[in-house]
Symmetry: C2
Subunit: 213 residues, 2 copies
DNA sequence: TGCATAATTAATAATTCTATTAAACAACGA
DNA sequence: TCGTTGTTTAATAGAATTATTAATTATGCA
């Protein structure tokens, strides 16, 4: 069955190459890179193990084809934040919501990324290097805004680090352990989705209220 | 060098068995179970690979000897929470602080546990089964207290699930990604420790203020 | 001192994993 | 229909991993 990548027309389902990509994505994200074998991927895709190597040569290249792009994009998205205009409250709300959306869009990769970033420091370094000066600038500006706000007595004293940690913790953690708390809270998938819809507002509320003097 | 477990007196440093345990603990927690080989453990401990199996027979038994007990204890600690007496504010504060302490004491295992719990559902189930009725009772009581508090207009409307998620997110996440944010915030180990000392108060403040109507 | 026992290593079996190669198979166009 | 080309598989090489066994080395005690 000759089926070039592009000519995937009408009735014909996903090509074997696509099935391999899909299987690899699921297994890598669910069980981690080392815990996933090309044999397992082949079994899940429904083909011979050699075919995995025929299309992608090595496990590493396969990983990059599957997740490399998404990972790089997600990390870029997560860093670049222009708070825009308005008062501090508005800017902070926008930052929280923007980051929440980025995390949610990549929720299936959250735990994987936490592992990757904590386990190989080089990855983190290259990200910071790639990002350049923009995030540092934005952070500096934000730190200044915060300081002004505190001095004017509009919010309680808090360091930017603590504030950021609060925001990121609230935004990221639930997605990282989603299977756990759906079980613990005994929720269905639809309920969980509904909760994640609501949750953005909840987090904004918690953070903003939590800053009152 | 004959050295039974007990007779580890005075000058003599850690026995080879202890070195293996230490190496295994570090590697399992840092890189995960599958990504750690007994060869690697032996190398780090400074002995032949066969010795690892001589003392512990299998990699799995070694893992259990190293972390099994700690994991089970940590999960028990995390579940059992008697809020004690006092008003709602006091009880909530106590719960937050107690859980924060549990997490901090086990901070080196946090990310590992998140992976284990999300990846094998059976582990979660057995924990819930082991815990019995006590946590469910405590939760029910707490949910009631919360409801009363909301009806009296002392705190804004919020579900117990959301509140718990807020608390656990704030308590757990920073420890899970500690290496990342020490790097991002450019902090030393001492600074990081100091931050974690402060942070308990910060979290209580954020949660309590965040609940105001 | 020598013997019993524990600690340690070298060698290796068995299995699993990644990767390659050659051959079989399917589809399409000339 | 035949040959070309892309797809898929069987077979297998080569490396790493877990685990066992037998031999070697160290140690304490009688």
């Amino acid at each position: 069955m000759i089926r070039k990548k592009e000519e995937n027309t009408q009735e014909s389902g996903p090509s074997m190459e696509e099935k391999i990509l899909a299987a690899a994505e699921r297994l890598f994200l669910e069980n981690g890179y080392e815990a996933t074998s090309t044999t397992q991927i082949a079994r899940e895709a429904g083909c011979n193990q050699a075919l995995v190597h025929y299309y992608f040569r090595t496990k590493e290249k396969l990983f990059d084809a599957v997740l490399g792009g998404r990972i790089r994009q997600a990390l870029r998205d997560f860093m670049i934040t222009d708070a825009g205009d308005g008062n501090f409250r508005q800017k902070l709300t926008r930052v929280i919501e923007f980051h929440y959306d980025v995390v949610r869009k990549n929720s299936d990769m959250v735990l994987f990324l936490m592992n990757s970033l904590t386990r190989n420091p080089s990855m983190l370094e290259s990200i910071i290097a790639d990002a350049g000066e923009k995030p540092r600038q934005a952070l500096k500006k934000f730190r200044n805004d915060l300081q002004v706000e505190i001095e004017m007595g509009r919010i309680r004293p808090i360091s930017l680090n603590e504030l950021m940690l609060n925001v990121v913790s609230l935004n990221v953690f639930p997605f990282a352990v989603r299977p756990v708390f759906t079980k613990v809270f005994d929720m269905g998938d639809d309920e969980t989705e509904a909760m994640f819809d609501e949750r953005k507002k909840e987090i904004v509320k918690t953070i903003l209220q939590g800053l009152r003097p």
